[in-house]
Symmetry: D2
Subunit: 382 residues, 4 copies
Amino acid sequence: MELKQAFDIVRQRSVSICAPLQTEDYVVQPVVDVSPPKWHLGHTTWFFETFVLQPNLKDYKVFNPEYNFVFNSYYESVGARVIRTDRGNLSRPGVADVYKYRTYVDEQMTLLLAQDISPELHALITLGLNHEEQHQELLITDIKYILGHNPLFPAYQEDYSFKERSITSSDFIRMLAGIYEIGHTGNGFCFDNELNRHKVYLEEYSISNVLVTNKEYLEFMQAGGYTDFRHWHAEGWDWVKTNQVRSPLYWHEVDGQWMNYTLKGLQLIAPNQPLAHISYYEAAAYASWKGLRLPTENEWEAAAPQLAWGERWEWTESAYLPYPGFVKAPGAIGEYNGKFMVSQMVLRGGSVATPPGHSRITYRNFFHPPLRWQYTGIRLAK
Amino acid sequence: MELKQAFDIVRQRSVSICAPLQTEDYVVQPVVDVSPPKWHLGHTTWFFETFVLQPNLKDYKVFNPEYNFVFNSYYESVGARVIRTDRGNLSRPGVADVYKYRTYVDEQMTLLLAQDISPELHALITLGLNHEEQHQELLITDIKYILGHNPLFPAYQEDYSFKERSITSSDFIRMLAGIYEIGHTGNGFCFDNELNRHKVYLEEYSISNVLVTNKEYLEFMQAGGYTDFRHWHAEGWDWVKTNQVRSPLYWHEVDGQWMNYTLKGLQLIAPNQPLAHISYYEAAAYASWKGLRLPTENEWEAAAPQLAWGERWEWTESAYLPYPGFVKAPGAIGEYNGKFMVSQMVLRGGSVATPPGHSRITYRNFFHPPLRWQYTGIRLAK
Amino acid sequence: MELKQAFDIVRQRSVSICAPLQTEDYVVQPVVDVSPPKWHLGHTTWFFETFVLQPNLKDYKVFNPEYNFVFNSYYESVGARVIRTDRGNLSRPGVADVYKYRTYVDEQMTLLLAQDISPELHALITLGLNHEEQHQELLITDIKYILGHNPLFPAYQEDYSFKERSITSSDFIRMLAGIYEIGHTGNGFCFDNELNRHKVYLEEYSISNVLVTNKEYLEFMQAGGYTDFRHWHAEGWDWVKTNQVRSPLYWHEVDGQWMNYTLKGLQLIAPNQPLAHISYYEAAAYASWKGLRLPTENEWEAAAPQLAWGERWEWTESAYLPYPGFVKAPGAIGEYNGKFMVSQMVLRGGSVATPPGHSRITYRNFFHPPLRWQYTGIRLAK
Amino acid sequence: MELKQAFDIVRQRSVSICAPLQTEDYVVQPVVDVSPPKWHLGHTTWFFETFVLQPNLKDYKVFNPEYNFVFNSYYESVGARVIRTDRGNLSRPGVADVYKYRTYVDEQMTLLLAQDISPELHALITLGLNHEEQHQELLITDIKYILGHNPLFPAYQEDYSFKERSITSSDFIRMLAGIYEIGHTGNGFCFDNELNRHKVYLEEYSISNVLVTNKEYLEFMQAGGYTDFRHWHAEGWDWVKTNQVRSPLYWHEVDGQWMNYTLKGLQLIAPNQPLAHISYYEAAAYASWKGLRLPTENEWEAAAPQLAWGERWEWTESAYLPYPGFVKAPGAIGEYNGKFMVSQMVLRGGSVATPPGHSRITYRNFFHPPLRWQYTGIRLAK
């Protein structure tokens, strides 16, 4: 696909995701990990303005110099930023102004894309598009959090539904011991954390061909899974007690029945759908209760060609660490991945909220162990 | 004035105050003491719905039963409430829905007001109007906080200004020792905390006929007032150090000049205007630095007929405590004042943001010592 | 009594209070308001060293210059201090060293007291003795806290008991409206906060001739006092819920019976003894539940000549504020009282832990509303 | 060595480590990660009483049933425990009682060890001894923390010193790519986390033959290492700013010279000694500044036979995770290691405070990234 066409598609998709929102929904930040939708719209735009247009488009005029202060996320190299917990306190710039900002930057990008694009610039714009795709997934999960934590439980769209298969049987795929190659290869886009491709030795293992379902997880709950410390990491057990956790996020027991909040509102739990919105602690506790374990990210990647994946981000038993020979990019872009390589766990696969084509079998997603507002699920191994 | 007319005027004023806002400004809560403007609009409406319409208008149908959960403030008798820090996390009900709610309740109130109104109901509605007037002042100060803490410093209205006199001279009024009567008398409306009228004995004292100005306070700052613990209460000194306070709220030193954020944006300090936005700690420290003190609320009330007041809420040296013979009203309305009578200081007078006619010389406002987002000022005594 | 004799008696009493302790008991600080006993012993000594000996005894040699850093409490004028929460982290100076410090300072004081003592110095030493007496009361209550919060519930002394009368009947004393004089008079010692004597006008009131008993308070508990918000100040209700308070401090329900920790260990509640260890919130809630109120400090003082008092510090409905004409002493000694005159409530009377002769009817004790590790009780008024 | 002899040696070493302490030093807990020395003495004793004597010595009588409440650390299976932050609030049981407890349990263990010991029991006692050796290292580092954070900077022993070599040259050892075997093998004792031995594939790498010295780290400091975010993980950078870190723990700049607190008191920095007391964040930032990296734990173990190690625990770039085929032991002993396998980093080697013979090349130590009160150091790789 042409870069210009890709740019237009990606930029439009962010706008489409927000189409069902009321103005007020763009503004709030109910918890630190969630950002206001208007912030995502502004921040992805700021990325193109700051890293693409300013250095590369002659005579480019910044839309509003104060926006750098508002829409920078965590790039320490690019000046002061609004501290993260404050994002939900900012009523200005308003939603209309943010859309004007998008339009302005898109027009300027169109000018730039009409020119000769060097391979380096091409790569940078592609990075910007992949960056925006990541924020599109966050847009969906953050909107879900904002609406799903409102006492009125408003739907995002009354008739919204993801395509999700029913899981009614499962099996384990056996993988032989030996040397496997891990990491990205080929000419397509990848993030720096997927490089470089390297050998690993894996002992023999087996990995499930499906994800754990709501029904299976409910059995864990009903067997007292949340009250038996033996299945939990010590810090997971503290997390359960401190937060009085007794079910996945968005689950509510209403008149004796388990329901969950979905993008079309409160619904009965669908027993055969893949479980979602659990923390690493819950994933590991469930696996322990089953007498099994989570796969490592290497085991996952080695088996991936034989797996159906993409409906849930799958917690692995691997911490997010650099691959052998990892080198971070120079400049502010180098802050993209490497600086997060501590205290987080890797998730593999992709989710119903991931933009089509965004993920791949070498893709390394990562979150802190207690976080569960993403569409996270469990695949078992042994 | 007719009750119906009073009702219409008060209800309209809340709407007028919000007229210059963008939708986004209605939603955010940058700090726990500030509420989102749409919450004020909904809560004052909920007051009429819950305490006036439900018990008194036949066949009254509640607008939305879930709104009680959202718009109750602190009336423990009336069911679960959204905890206060969560108000800024709620994008729904949206601003348009809140205005619909207001319209609906106003229509129903119109029906009720067309009927015979018992003296008790008249008193209750009058309380609701005075309650709404209190929230009108909060609307102004909360809007100022929301816009004044935005990095873009947007104006509320470009040409907005309060009528404020220049203070260029001052004098002390001498009051003789003796017995004075304190508390409300007469048939007009008052809050329960102003009752009952009782005698106090005051020693001889003097009280300033004007408020402290910005210029005078700047002298305190330039004399090192914020760095000399001797003028401060112990907890005030902790407050200064913990929060690194070095000026009143909304003051910013820009290129060596002191400016303050006002409702028309960032402005140069007006030297002869009364100082605003200081905490009790700052008021007391300033008085100590001058070798003077703040008046008690009794001293203030005794002298009030000889004072020009109403431009700033004036911190007194009195804690907020019940008057002799204080009795709180029965039921939920009884939660109005009495339960706050600990750990707060009394402020007397009124401010530029107080609705006209709302305050009186027996009026007892109260806030916690560190709070300063109201228009608070200093009057000295000795 | 001679000053030298008073000095010896007071200094010895601190040592006697600590005699039953193990070395380890001198060291810990289980909560910020409690100080390690060795700190009290050192701090009271540091007071004499710093304010009496250094300025007044020729060639006085400081025992250890680093002790100022350890034993200063809150006198900002006298240099850096160990922040208060850190006191329990300091194993050194050890207990033996602190006793050496006391001996050294006592010897030097003996030299000084053998000289001519000016009236000013006499007053200063008397202040130091009253200061040490205040810390003697804290020593007892802090030791009780340290031992009473240990899972082994060790006794301070197996056979320790205070003299406390049984309360089996009660009555209200009626006081007429009129002008009363409040504040200290005469030549005896008093703190600056008791001055100056001034007139107040009191409305007619009645005040109980006895304190509330354990049995009476148990009725409040059994009537659901801790679960009915209507009796509580808003911040008191938050305190109950946040801390899950359901009884006075040191009360434990063991096998269906209420016991309390006393200095001789866990004991059955004595029904007719005066209630102790309740917060201001609990005192006010109890009074509200009875349909009565707490007296103001002025009411208490006016009635005091007709009351038996001294078994419990009695919460009043008065905030701790300066009297008319209050002037704080110059220099570091001036930090003694005035700087605490915000956000605290006055207690009157004295307790079983107060050194004999220390209190008087003009004495103003003060604590923050939630604190209850002192021997605090309730006297009702109406 | 005979088990009885090993038991006697290990138990005596704990006592010897505490010999230089004053009673007060046994009691305090200045920070949550540090435990009072008397707690270590009691807890290691409780381990033998609970897991060895109670199930295995006929008619064994528990020393004091309440000690379980005090000396359990984190074994959820064995009943309620004093929450960790409370350890420093407990003056009782006193030091003498803790030593009586040790003597009693040692006597009972002597009775048991005179009987036939099954292989399972032998393994359990050996685990208890290795457990106590781990606490011996903590005893030293906790005592250092307690004394080194006292404003008087008392020495542990005036003439105490570890044997440490001067490092004056360094080289990199080149390791070839290939399959290596990782994990414990043979009949000796190991922890469950070292099992089971398994193959890994390593790419070619080089590893330094020495640790980073104080002098080298000082160069990093002087080059602005603590003020340049580019070398730091994002959460490391937050840690630096929040805690205002500007040097390793125990370093103090005195009159322009860097000194550090050692067990013999404040000393000038020894330039050629290995750096100690740095967090994982600092280790990683230093490596980044040098353009190098930390080794993984597999790289470390593969190279270990060619390394001199044992003077510092060496941070690796590996998170603490289970080995392939890891199985945790049944029962409470199973809580030993597995439940900590999240959010911690592996350290390899051993330190000057590690009991002789305790560590080995397969040994996996682990701590959270910000912790630095252990003797932690840096070995570089590339």
